[in-house]
């Protein structure tokens, strides 16, 4: 393990991951399974952000679905606009609006015809929202379970809000995307391209997270997690430290949502409410919140297990899923990432210094 913390080790790790993602996976998996993997990688991107905010920063963000959803909806709006434009020329309204009886393009949709604007919005809007919300919450020192419950309620409220927006597809959400920045989405070659894009984004996100953890900021974040008040007495504004991690996690989730949309072909409130948000967290917890790759592994494992189990036992897989959460979290506090460590010290009872949650 020590090796991977060295510079050479880091490059080796990234190299191996790239080899698996870009070489092995496309070779071994069918188009459908590769598409599924691409979808799982989106969850993994969200997980990396949660690992940072929760594992390092102690903020249990039960509402990542909000940021994931923002990214996804922003991208979906662009795809719908592109689609409408292709079918009906500039100014045409997307198909679902016609069906809902909306004849006139709502003003806030218009800018999403521009790819550049869309990408900027995906990067900026959720992040800015996270900064505002983070400031409101962290400056007032709302933390721990309070923060968790609050962010959960946020996810619930956000989903409900979206359901009520007929100009965003309401309960059905947005679906039926045909083109992605000019490319046909039903072409298998383009679907594979999408997979490569997601894989690339994941590696980039992991790299950013790694840099943040190893930086002084990373140490500061842990300090804030463990003794927030103390940090203030050293002259830092602890709220700002937290806001940064929270915003970065939001950014990752938003990007993940944005790439999720062309891959899965639909975004609806059902994918961003309370339960999906908890699923994001579960992946991270199961993989190991405090480690760098733990969240990635956990997110992939949970998503994969979910698919595999439900294919095998369509009517009883919830049992297996529930059991999986219970067993892994109760027995492996550090997640999958800690398996080795746990095996090593089975004879004794408790970790010396327990990571505070």
């Amino acid at each position: 393990m020590k090796f991977f913390t060295t510079r050479a080790g880091t490059w080796t790790g990234f190299g191996a991951a790239a080899l698996v993602l870009f070489g092995l996976a496309p070779l071994l998996l069918s188009g459908f399974r590769l598409g599924l993997l691409a979808q799982f990688l989106c969850y993994a991107i969200v997980a990396v952000g949660i690992g940072l905010a929760w594992g390092r920063g102690g903020m249990l963000t039960l509402g990542q679905g909000v940021f994931f959803g923002m990214g996804a909806y922003l991208m979906a709006m662009h795809l719908k606009m592109a689609d409408a434009e292709f079918r009906g020329g500039p100014g045409a309204v997307p198909d679902f609006m016609e069906l809902a009886g909306i004849r006139e393009l709502p003003a806030y949709w218009a800018p999403f015809a521009s790819p550049a604007f869309t990408i900027a919005a995906i990067l900026v809007l959720p992040t800015a929202f996270a900064v505002l919300l983070g400031l409101a919450v962290f400056k007032r020192r709302v933390k721990g379970a309070y923060f968790a419950i609050l962010s959960q309620a946020l996810a619930g409220a956000f989903a409900i809000l979206l359901i009520g927006q007929q100009s965003l597809g309401g309960f059905n959400g947005l679906s039926r995307f045909r083109y992605f920045f000019g490319y046909n989405l039903d072409d298998p070659v383009n679907q594979q391209m999408l997979y490569f894009i997601v894989a690339g984004v994941l590696l980039a996100v992991v790299a950013v997270s790694l840099q943040l953890r190893r930086s002084r900021y990373g140490e500061l974040l842990v300090a804030v997690r463990d003794a927030e008040e103390r940090v203030r007495f050293l002259g830092y504004d602890a709220a700002n430290v937290k806001v940064v991690a929270y915003a970065v996690a939001a950014l990752f989730a938003s990007v993940a949502g944005a790439v999720f949309v062309p891959i899965v072909g639909i975004i609806s409130p059902a994918s961003i409410g309370i339960v999906p948000s908890i699923m994001f967290i579960l992946g991270v917890a199961i993989g190991g919140r405090a480690s760098l790759v733990g969240p990635v592994v956990g997110a992939l494992a949970v998503a994969w297990a979910q698919t595999a189990l439900s294919e095998q036992f369509p009517s009883a897989w919830t049992y297996a899923q529930g059991l999986m959460f219970i067993l892994v979290i109760a027995l492996l506090p550090g997640g999958i990432a800690s398996t080795a460590a746990v095996l090593k010290r089975i004879p004794t009872k408790r970790a010396t210094v327990e990571a505070t949650t």
Binding site: N184, G265, S310
Partner: protein, 394 residues
């Protein structure tokens, strides 16, 4: 290595359906977990029943039908994922299932891109027609409009609209508003609650004080229980202010408690009590298979029917190939429990008999009015002048 760009043709996907053996696979895709499981598990059962019966009668094209079941988990993305899996990995000839419009909208591109078939068995808001979907539940002119006609006929001059906050109720209410305007009915209020919400104190108070002649209810699922209990408890009765519901079938009546809903109205195409030989044997077979205490309902019947319609179409086409099935579909009919249904080859919907039912003390619904014969499907309401503003043809 980039693929085709917008405007260019994408190479057609090869279907992997294998008909060389003596079985043929079909998918059954319903929510077996999550909030929608409450309704969709019943549909799974009636699909299985139809398949069992067809197999017992020799299968389709001499082949035994094999069901691949998947759980849509009440999530549209899962429906899309599982549909793709059924098509591409299991190579099914057709998929039966879906319930919410969101799940259907999510699956639609999957079926179109992979050129496969979905049989969707639930009444819905209309305004859709895909080559790759067969809609065997009612569209609005086979359910909502007859319900409105019935209310108008019985002298209702004002209504109050209550619905769950999602697409079907919103679209339905848009249609109702247009209808009401054209027919001089006053809409006194329109309220939406979150799916699954059980707090109806405010709404029922408002309904009561508005004093409409009738309530048009597009609530779905659990909310109905809370709504009708509250409704009964503030002293509102079916005589005083009837409620016309379009999503309450035999299953739901059990959960609401018949004492709270007796005498209220519903609009569907099928009730367990429909008096026909076909229904007699359907109900009997269903109870034999799943227990005497189970009831049959409209979506179950539509799902059951959809399997038979598929089988009949395949027999007519003499092939399982999607193109052949699409080609042969027009005019295929089946003597369904609800009466004869016929596929409309243009819009892939089926003709259906509309029925207004009243809920009786035994928990079953009894027909109090029915259309003269099956109504032709008109998903885009092209035959109704007052609806001209509502929808656009695709």
């Amino acid at each position: 290595a980039c693929g085709s760009k917008a405007g260019e043709e994408t190479a057609a996907v090869e279907s992997c359906v294998d008909t060389s053996g003596d079985t043929v696979k079909v998918g059954s895709l319903n929510s077996l977990s999550g909030t929608m499981a409450i309704s969709e598990t019943t549909v799974r059962d009636s699909i299985a029943l139809a398949v069992k019966e067809i197999n017992a009668a020799g299968g389709v094209q001499g082949k035994t039908i094999e069901i691949v079941a998947e759980d849509g988990a009440s999530e549209p993305t899962v429906f899309a994922e599982k549909a793709e899996k059924l098509i591409r990995e299991d190579c099914v000839a057709a998929v039966f299932g879906g319930w919410t419009s969101a799940s259907r909208k999510a699956m639609l591109p999957v079926f179109e891109d992979n050129d496969s078939l979905l049989y969707y068995p639930v009444q819905y808001e209309g305004l859709e027609a895909s080559e790759n979907i067969f809609y065997t539940g009612a569209t609005t002119n086979q359910q909502i409009i007859p319900a409105l006609d019935y209310l108008a006929e019985t002298g209702v001059e004002s209504i109050y609209l209550v619905g769950s906050d999602y697409v079907f109720p919103r679209t339905a209410n848009a249609i109702i508003n247009a209808y009401a305007e054209a027919h001089g009915i006053e809409v006194l209020g329109e309220d939406y609650v979150t799916l699954g919400s059980t707090e109806f104190s405010t709404i029922v108070t408002q309904v009561k004080s508005a004093g409409a002649d009738a309530v048009f209810n597009t609530l779905n699922g659990d909310s109905n229980v809370a709504f009708f209990r509250e409704y009964a408890n503030v002293g509102l009765t079916a005589e005083e202010m009837p409620v016309m519901s379009v999503s309450i079938a035999e299953e739901e009546v059990g959960g609401i408690g018949v004492e709270n809903i007796e005498g209220q109205l519903a609009a569907w195409n099928y009730y367990q009590t429909v008096d026909s030989p076909a229904n007699g044997s359907f109900v009997e077979a269903f109870k034999a298979e799943y227990g005497a205490d189970r009831v049959t309902s409209d979506p179950m019947e539509a799902a059951y029917t959809s399997v038979y319609l598929w089988a009949a179409t395949v027999e007519k086409a003499g092939s399982f190939a999607v193109a052949d099935v699409q080609e042969a579909a027009d005019g295929v009919s089946f003597d369904a429990p609800e009466g004869t249904v016929v596929i409309d080859g243009d819009n892939h919907h089926v003709s259906k008999t509309a029925r207004i039912g009243e809920i009786n003390a035994d928990g079953l619904l009894y027909t109090v009015w029915e259309s003269e014969g099956p109504i032709e499907p008109d998903p885009f309401l092209e035959g109704y002048d007052w609806a001209a503003d509502l929808a656009v043809t695709e």
